[in-house]
Symmetry: C2
Subunit: 473 residues, 2 copies
């Protein structure tokens, strides 16, 4: 269902806030029906677009194939099995494995994973060659992903074959795999630098002989969203089978390109955990989930076990010895940390103001950072209330100015901020301090710090309600 839920219940949507959503049949790669009087999610598909599969797609998770091409990757069998099981539990529809023709261990591992009885379909990825196909079909996979370079670059500098040869081999391999009763996909490589007529011609040919999917690949990772839209849209008009897309991330556009491919009618997206793969890799699973969740939270929540995302990313990060990037969508360690004063104020009033992704849907927590010079008095007020201190707005503004002054020298931890607020409060209560008397406050703070008394205990709930300093995961 293309339901949305980001609009706060306290706000009544006006006419502008209503969106038109296509009333379509919900089957065969088309968006599901939605209620006519839907509340506004501005990031949802906005028009009745019968092509768009933003609300109806499958993930082909390629951490165990593309990901193995990442410079640091060496997956032994227990690691491969752990990753496959985690991806299956997360809910990806397909898991793609390295070609069994790559090495003997690759073949044995492929067989072992096929025997796990996972819910996800198991695919393996081979060159368009009968030798590889014969090995692949014997492993027990549910499908075979066949690939060959079709661009003039790859035809000249890689395999040296012409289009007639490529077509002939493709037909032979596809018919062979189909004869074994399993799925088969045919993909070009470097599709965006291939001759369009050659491409459409071979896709049409393999579609006619009953291939399950055709694949487009931005192998060098430089396509932009418009180019992706154009090619997928054109292909959608040529073939009736499913369309898969594989997008490298060399210019950082692989997530947006995947989203755009779905808008243009693609049905299957290749991902890897953290995007690992050749060079800087491909569309990351987490990033794809983030943008599709933003468009349609309910659909994405219904398909995938979102709180597992962080665990899967940590598993793979550890296996390939990298850190989860600090700016990773959803799981980056400050993805839900709010700092600027005006942001913090609004977030405390209503998280939807600055958050489309709900941290709780991913098993994560929101933080509001206040011990810095960009802080605002509304965020400080929230902390004052958590500490059960009683201060007027003018007093809180005065204390905020003091926090900013101290934070101009060095960042203040939450403990530092609490100390400032407690000292300020006790100064006011005892009558030793008046609003604006910065000199007196400095004296009181020094006296407090010089004293050897233990800090007063927090009365209650001081680290709840999302106001705390972020901790690194």
């Amino acid at each position: 269902m293309c339901q949305t839920e980001n609009t706060p219940s306290s706000s009544t949507p006006n006419k502008q806030d209503m969106v038109e959503v296509g009333q379509v049949n919900g089957t065969n790669g088309r968006p599901a029906a939605a209620s006519a009087n839907q509340q506004r999610n501005p990031y949802a598909p906005r028009y009745a677009d019968f092509l768009s599969n933003v609300c109806n797609f499958k993930i082909i998770e390629s951490t165990l194939r593309e990901g193995e091409q990442f410079a640091n990757a060496f997956f032994d069998r227990p690691t491969k099995i752990a990753i496959a099981k985690a991806l299956d539990a997360f809910g990806v529809e397909y898991i793609e494995l390295t070609s069994p023709a790559a090495s003997e261990q690759s073949r044995l591992d492929c067989e072992a994973i096929c025997k796990l009885g996972l819910k996800a379909k198991i695919l393996t990825h081979i060159r368009c060659h009968m030798d590889d196909a014969r090995i692949a079909v014997e492993t027990g996979v549910d499908g075979v992903d066949v690939v060959i370079g079709t661009s003039s670059f790859l035809r000249e500098f890689s395999h040296g074959k012409d289009m007639a040869y490529i077509t002939k081999t493709a037909i032979e391999v596809i018919n062979f795999v189909k004869s074994k009763g399993i799925e088969v996909r045919f993909s070009s490589e470097d599709s965006f630098r291939s001759d369009l007529v050659d491409l459409l011609s071979i896709y049409q040919t393999v579609d006619k002989i009953g291939v399950n999917r055709v694949g487009i690949a931005d192998t060098v990772g430089c396509a932009n969203p418009r180019q992706v839209y154009d090619l997928v849209r054109t292909l959608r008009g040529v073939v009736s089978c499913d369309i898969e897309i594989h997008l490298h991330n060399d210019t950082g556009m692989a997530i947006a390109n995947a989203y755009t491919a779905l808008e243009a009618g693609a049905t299957h997206i290749d991902t890897s955990v953290l995007g690992i793969g050749e060079r800087v890799g491909i569309t990351p699973l987490g990033g794809l989930v983030a943008c599709l969740y933003a468009a349609n939270p309910e659909y994405v929540k219904s398909k995938y076990n979102l709180p597992m995302l962080r665990e899967i990313e940590n598993l793979v990060a550890e296996a390939v010895e990298v850190s989860v990037p600090f700016m990773n969508p959803i799981t980056g360690y400050c993805a839900f940390t709010h700092k600027a004063g005006i942001h913090a104020k609004a977030i405390l009033n209503n998280p939807s103001t600055y958050e489309i992704l709900k941290p709780e849907d991913f098993g994560l927590t929101r933080y509001v950072s206040i011990g810095h010079r960009l802080t605002g008095w509304n965020a400080v007020k929230s902390r004052v209330e958590q500490l059960q201190l009683v201060l007027t707005d003018d007093q809180i503004k005065d204390a905020t100015a003091k926090i900013k002054e101290l934070a101009d020298v060095r960042t203040q931890s939450m403990e530092d901020v609490d100390t400032v607020l407690r000292v300020y409060h006790s100064g006011i209560v005892s009558g030793e301090l008046e609003v604006g008397d910065s000199h007196q406050f400095d004296k009181l703070l020094k006296k407090h710090r010089d004293s050897s008394l233990p800090r007063p205990e927090l009365t209650n709930g001081a680290n709840t309600n999302g106001t705390a300093t972020p901790t690194r995961a």
Copy 2:
């Protein structure tokens, strides 16, 4: 100039390879003229699009404003100055600083950076409020970026002002800043959740009173490329001033959205180094450079000192205590590492096969990784030649099978691979080894490893020509 250069000189482009590029005037935010018979760069702007500014844009670098809102950021003055100087040397057109109203130190630092005499214009970013404007114009900045939340979310939960009040204040602030003879930009906040008519109305009003730029902001970071294109394109038809765009990266689409905004007629893109900012930040400088370079390498090389990119990223990463993400475009530590056998073969024949970004343009080096089970004999052959060993293709294929077998157990370092090749070679030369005699090879390798003799010295150039294992930066 919209020249391209990625087509290898050895390949003659066919008719399909020719692209039509708009013959336009090259001034005032429009693409520059290009030769009619241009070689094909498939990632270049493909149509005569008079709107697109992919070949004509300016960067507003906001590491010292948006970046200061990153959870880890605390920039003291020497750090701010070092970052500002580095960005200026890189060639960004604008440097944006934290509001001088945020704290006393922020104000003093802003004044100090204005006095550096940088080539880049210095901007500061303030709330749409006369108090802030009065402080800002006294700092010596070249321009003031004014922002106010216009979405129903922010109007309700942040500042609580209506559109009439916002418009009145905007006019007052803009006229005041203009009266001081400096640039002024007016931006909405959370533009994609704002009422379109409200937005266009206020932009038209401020355009008429002579604002230099209007700004669009995806403050929550969830817009998709089509939404960005639509809003910028619509706005382009309403105002005659420049258009700036500020894109958060919560769903990982900020680079593609920036590219798309330029296609739709935006003129200025906000970036920060590594994308640092609130939550997961905004469009990263390096990623933006990567996608614009892919579209038009000559133009981007003419504007920016690209080999400085890594240095700037390291500077900022150190200042905010994060690592450069492993999958960062261009500077990620394996961005130019090739691993799969078929990739390695083609890269060795012609780097354009799998690379649109030329590492040498960024002062970086290409690596081909060969000590793993996905390796191919063409990559191994290249290494054999570097080591000045003489082996037939059949012998190299046999040695490659041995490397794959060993790499199935654990990843082989370049030193391991070299040992295999040397032992194999000496076995062949001495007659002790024949092709396919795996058992004998294992004996020779064990004998070599057991011997206490030092390894033979490399004869020459063994670590040149780009074949080496990657090292972490």
